[in-house]
Symmetry: C2
Subunit: 147 residues, 2 copies
Amino acid sequence: MRIGELAQASGTPIETIRFYEREGLLPAAPRTEGNYRIYTPQHAERLGFIRQCRNLDMTLDEVRVLLRFKDQPLAACGEVNSLLDEHIGHVAERIRELRGLEKELRSLRAACLTPHVAADCGILNGIDQAGAHGAAQRKRRHVRGAH
Amino acid sequence: MRIGELAQASGTPIETIRFYEREGLLPAAPRTEGNYRIYTPQHAERLGFIRQCRNLDMTLDEVRVLLRFKDQPLAACGEVNSLLDEHIGHVAERIRELRGLEKELRSLRAACLTPHVAADCGILNGIDQAGAHGAAQRKRRHVRGAH
DNA sequence: GAAAACCCTGAAGTGAGTATAGAGTCAAGG
DNA sequence: CCTTGACTCTATACTCACTTCAGGGTTTTC
Ligand SMILES: [Zn+2]
Ligand SMILES: [Zn+2]
Ligand SMILES: [Zn+2]
Ligand SMILES: [Zn+2]
């Protein structure tokens, strides 16, 4: 199959497939005489695996580790288990943070129930004060935020 | 105060302060003879506001809107309220997604309780199948993920 | 007067793609 | 045979919110 067909079948944009090849997640596909990539069902399966991992919000580095095990079927899978445990931790921590955030945002929102003048807006003024009593600092994690 | 002192006082890296100036979130600071930026308490307050918004996981574009209202204290604050409502929606939606993700990851994890050979790993094989019965597709949002 | 600490600019890198531009390939219709 | 249109190719730039780096200049302190 050619790249467009694989894209269709897997629900992956063409550019993303080429990107995965550049990044070494997919092996370089063989080419036709006209320099078109051609894919086998094995390619499609591997791409499906990558996409499923991304749907589980893993980083490409995390995916790379799992692919290494797929490529070495005789290796012990202990590292797979611990990678998953860590990643579950990433997700759980992010949920905790976002819940705190949501609470803070809702109480901020309650400070301005009827619109008035910006200078007196309970939200705008509330954001100023929120910093005063020491809020949490943002950290860098890999499970994405809200936007 | 000079940039280092402002950085210290606000818990913001120096480079980030300069970045905010380039992006127009902070006004260009006046300079000393030696071309050093000098800041007033007003600058510090504005920076604190920006940082607080970032702690609430807003995008810089969302922050820009709020700053516009800070700069026009006589405007009606209705847009502030709706921006906050939308952003609360961003956060709430992301929490919902991550909860589903966590559940899926935990059930995947349960498929391999004792390590064995990669070819037989319930996790690696489970990821393959997860895609088969139609999992959720990732979307682009602004509240960051887990990593 | 020299070292240490501070500051400057401009450019490039991060992650995980997305979006162009400009060119080449291939099947079908006239 | 020629053209149209769908498909594909590479290379490059853009996204976001910074961070890091290279290569300098300034100020303070000993
Ligand atoms: Zn993770
Ligand atoms: Zn208000
Ligand atoms: Zn938002
Ligand atoms: Zn296993």
